[in-house]
């Protein structure tokens, strides 16, 4: 049974697109058939992060409006056979996405794939509510930062009221993915700790992605981080999170890169 997963956050710049690409790819690396759908009409970026920007011909809006067939718009990943991307349009009017049209496309995608990962735009407007509308489960991406936590709370409220599942009175599975986490700063109480964020938002934890330069390095070259360097700390965290999504029990930890040594502390701390 195909699952529709929305990656959402409220606040922009917390890592929704990076996480959509990394989680989708990690699921594909586990053998699942995955499509990642970019809902950020007007500001598409998933194609760039996944290294497919030069292969976009048709997009989500073309499919919703019936100008292209789904098969024409889907871009199959060059590295992974079972991973596809449905890009967003950059130029068209946001109003072109209709609830009914999106529903049709999602239903068609569910026939072809095991996972439909919807990368939501930031905010609480139409684009974000459309991205979450048909979701079976949601990943709320948050940074350990006050504005991000507050906006996550708003989004959790929307997930509980504006999704089809919520309207039918069915529970919508919600998970928290904490990104850009610095365990050492949290230990020194300079950063909200995992426990703080969990207590405030009270939804189950899917994973903790450590702050790492590997994330930027991967997006620079257009490869999801779990493909670009599968052994690095953020990749391992995303892989664990993906395994948890499939129902596997994986012990929660914050992976660290080997250079957590004194040298690493002295020279490794750079702004991303």
């Amino acid at each position: 049974m195909a699952k529709v997963l929305v990656v959402t956050s409220g606040k922009g710049g917390v890592g929704k697109t990076t996480s959509s690409a990394a989680l989708g790819t990690a699921l594909a690396q586990m053998g699942q058939r995955v499509v990642v759908v970019d809902f950020d009409v007007g500001l598409r970026n998933l194609d760039l992060v996944m290294g497919a920007e030069r292969r976009v011909v048709f997009d989500l809006i073309n499919v919703v409006q019936g100008e292209a067939k789904l098969a024409q718009a889907l871009i199959r990943d060059k590295r992974l056979d079972n991973l596809s991307l449905l890009p967003a349009s950059q130029t068209r009017d946001k109003e072109a996405l209709t609830e009914e049209g999106v529903g049709r496309v999602i239903a068609e995608l569910k026939e072809k794939f095991d996972w439909v990962v919807c990368d939501s735009p930031a905010g609480i407007e139409r684009g974000a509510t459309l991205a979450m509308r048909y979701a079976d489960l949601a990943v709320v991406v948050a940074n350990p930062e006050v504005s991000s936590v507050r906006d996550s709370d708003r989004i959790i409220g929307l997930l509980d009221s504006k999704t089809l599942k919520a309207e039918k009175g069915e529970p919508l599975e919600k998970h928290l993915l904490l990104t850009r986490y610095d365990a050492m700063r949290a230990e020194r109480r300079e950063m909200l700790a995992v426990e703080d964020v969990l207590e405030i938002l009270s939804i189950p934890l899917l994973g903790i992605i450590p702050e790492s330069e590997e994330v930027l390095r991967a997006s620079n070259v257009g490869a999801p981080v779990t493909l670009n360097n599968p052994g690095c700390a953020p990749s391992r965290a995303y892989q664990d999170a993906a395994r948890r999504l499939t129902g596997e029990m994986v012990t929660m930890s914050v992976p660290r890169d080997k250079k957590g040594s004194l040298l690493g502390k002295l020279f490794g701390r750079r702004a991303a």
């Binding site: 006050v146 507050r150 709370d153 708003r154 949290a186 109480r189 909200l192 405030i200």
Partner: protein, 94 residues
Amino acid sequence: MSLFDFFRRPTSAPVARERLQILLAHERAVIGRSDLIAILREEILAVIAKHVTMEPEKVNVKMERGDTVSTLEVEVEVPTSATARAGKKVVEAA
């Protein structure tokens, strides 16, 4: 204040946590309340409209939350002709 404290910056995470807890407690109440009022207004309107003709704009729904008691105030302005048509059904504006 020891020499050690002098070099250590004060921690900010506990402050962030407390600010968030207070803010979100407030926001959750406000947001939940505004939704509730909208839903109540719609449903009360529908019930009254079944029995009397009235103008939707002439309905006021207010909620005041006190420490111990909260009051819900519904004010419906009903035209006399409409009440007459409704016959024995009496609609009270509270």
